[in-house]
Symmetry: C2
Subunit: 361 residues, 2 copies
């Protein structure tokens, strides 16, 4: 497969390094030609394309790794140039996917939103690492329009990069990251800002900041640039999640004010349990089973089935589509943990699918 | 000097290990005799006292390392037993100091509040480390009643343990830690709790939690027990700091709602700068000068001068008191960075003290 990376910063460069490590040929392009040259120098890409169009033309797969506000424009141009599949790595999905589909409705099958949940405090291609995505969750946001074969191919490629692939709808993605990424950024920066303001009155303040404060404010050191785009693009979801957080904080304030030790203890204990159960690295899978799901080859099947797995927390270890020779039907084959198979089958049944178990071949 | 540690958990055990490493003899006592025995087994104390009174009797210095709600009772008993100086390691100072002074007004000179800003996610003496306080800030909260010689001795001992000693008033301490420790704990636990609640609806949620969320919620894994005491004892300061944080968060929310990129960028940039300037480890001192400050031997001088340094962020490298042979006067000798000496002299002048510089002997 011929792969292009547009935007050769930290994430684009890391994708290039990982793919080249797997033996793929990677062409790169960046609006800043110095950055593209640096990516080549660091071995993140094999060659630098003369233009975005040249990079995308004849490409089987284009990774768009540019700031959120620029994704739709770049993706549209890559689709126009004839790329077979275009995906992106932006932190916001709903508005980006909608903008691309609105601009090129006929090419909607060839655009698949993505978001690797990995990054680094470092900026730029010099911080790129071939193992940035190892064990990281890589979100894909298939829609009814998504081409099934292209989805399966991209998914397999990301798995080869040792990423854990989770499918959710674009809207769900934006709601979820608002809570676990965007609101934490606001909470961290705001805490640091309040402390900085008070520091002016009392110079000892920050000398009293121990490890907890350091942890809480680590991401406040992030570059503001990317966050302006994210907070603007994902405004509605951020406001909803921030309001939920503010409500909960006001609730906690009232418990402190009332000296309600029982309720405070319950809150702290729930949070402690949740934090100690926070998933680390790849999910523990155990024994595997293969589910076969006969499907009609109609739009939306793929998105329905894979985002159901995402919502239920079912990890799809392997995924393929066997098309029937006789008509517009086929079979989705999915390998999942035996411990999660019942819940997944039940959910599929509720959506009108009938799954059967097969021996692992 | 004969030193006693009452409460042989993580912090008490670490104090014992550090002091024994400096060659001091340390007697320990714990309400839980198994824990005291374990502390001896781990080498954190030389011997186990039969009672709190036995540990404190004849002690030059008693470290009270018990939960906040138990400090005043233990400290009072240690004062009654005749300890020359009693200090504690509690996370709240104003109410604790007030309670001890109220209970034993005549012994107020012999109680000095303290709070080492170091800890660990581990509980208990098995997590104790001789180097827990190396480079950590250790707050002392002298008052007008504090005995000057005892203060200087304790300060020197903590410096020998490689802690950075900062003096602030008990009330200032509580306000400052409310902002950099207690509110972060509430913010972290509440964020985790909101996420846990949402996770029930969408199992993929926590798989999307990348490094920032992990950092923000690390302290949510803390044991609830100590926090109930802290949040109850320091209620007023916590509420004030939490309200300031809530106000700031509401302000940030309005910036997001209005799509005010300029103001958002200013907020994020201020926070970034503050985080990048967060002091790490011991302050960089550079060239030193010695200040001599003639003082009358009246109550309050010591607290005034040292908490002024704390407020101004002046790091006192060395501290001693030379008493005059001829009357109730003496000279405070303080070694500080040359770069901070002007600001400190100016502050001292405003309080009515006249400092002069001496060659470092």
């Amino acid at each position: 497969v011929r792969i292009a990376v547009v935007g050769t910063g930290l994430v684009g460069g890391s994708i290039g390094l990982a793919l080249r490590g797997l033996g793929h040929d990677v062409v790169g392009f960046d609006g800043d030609s110095n950055r593209a040259a640096r990516a080549k120098e660091l071995g993140a890409i094999d060659s630098v394309a003369a233009s975005l169009e040249a990079a995308a033309r004849n490409a089987d797969l284009v990774f768009v790794a540019v700031p959120v506000s620029a994704i739709a424009g770049v993706a549209t141009a890559a689709l126009d140039a004839g790329a077979r599949l275009v995906t992106d790595v932006g932190s916001v999905k709903g508005p980006v996917v909608a903008e691309v589909v609105h601009a090129r409705p006929d090419a909607a099958a060839r655009f698949l939103g993505g978001h690797p949940m990995a990054g680094s405090e470092q900026d730029g291609v010099d911080g790129a690492r071939a193992d940035l995505f190892v064990g990281a969750t890589w979100v894909l946001t298939p829609t009814a329009a998504t081409d099934q074969a292209a989805f399966a191919e991209l998914r397999a490629l990301l798995r080869a990069m040792h990423a854990e692939v989770v499918s959710v709808t674009p809207a769900d993605h934006d709601e979820l990251v608002a809570l676990v990424s965007h609101v934490p950024q606001i909470a961290s920066s705001t805490l640091m800002d309040v402390a900085v303001t008070r520091e002016a009155e009392h110079q000892a303040l920050l000398r009293l900041a121990a490890g907890g404060f350091r942890d809480m404010t680590r991401i406040a050191a992030s570059h503001p640039g990317i966050w302006l785009d994210i907070l603007t693009s994902n405004r509605d979801a951020v406001l909803a999640a921030l309001d939920a957080y503010l409500d909960a904080l006001h609730g906690a304030r009232e418990l402190v004010a009332a000296g309600d030790r029982d309720a405070l203890e319950k809150l702290l204990a729930r949070a402690r349990k949740g934090r100690r159960n926070l998933p680390v690295g790849a999910p523990v899978v155990g024994e595997l089973v293969e589910l076969h799901v006969p499907v009609l080859d109609r739009p939306g099947v793929l998105a329905e089935v894979t985002t159901l797995a995402g919502r239920l927390g079912v990890n799809i270890e392997d995924f393929s589509i066997a098309h029937s020779a006789e008509g517009p039907a086929g079979v989705l084959k999915m390998v999942v943990a035996r411990s999660q198979a019942d819940a997944f089958e039940q959910g599929l049944h509720e959506l009108g699918y009938l799954a059967s178990r097969a021996e692992l071949s």
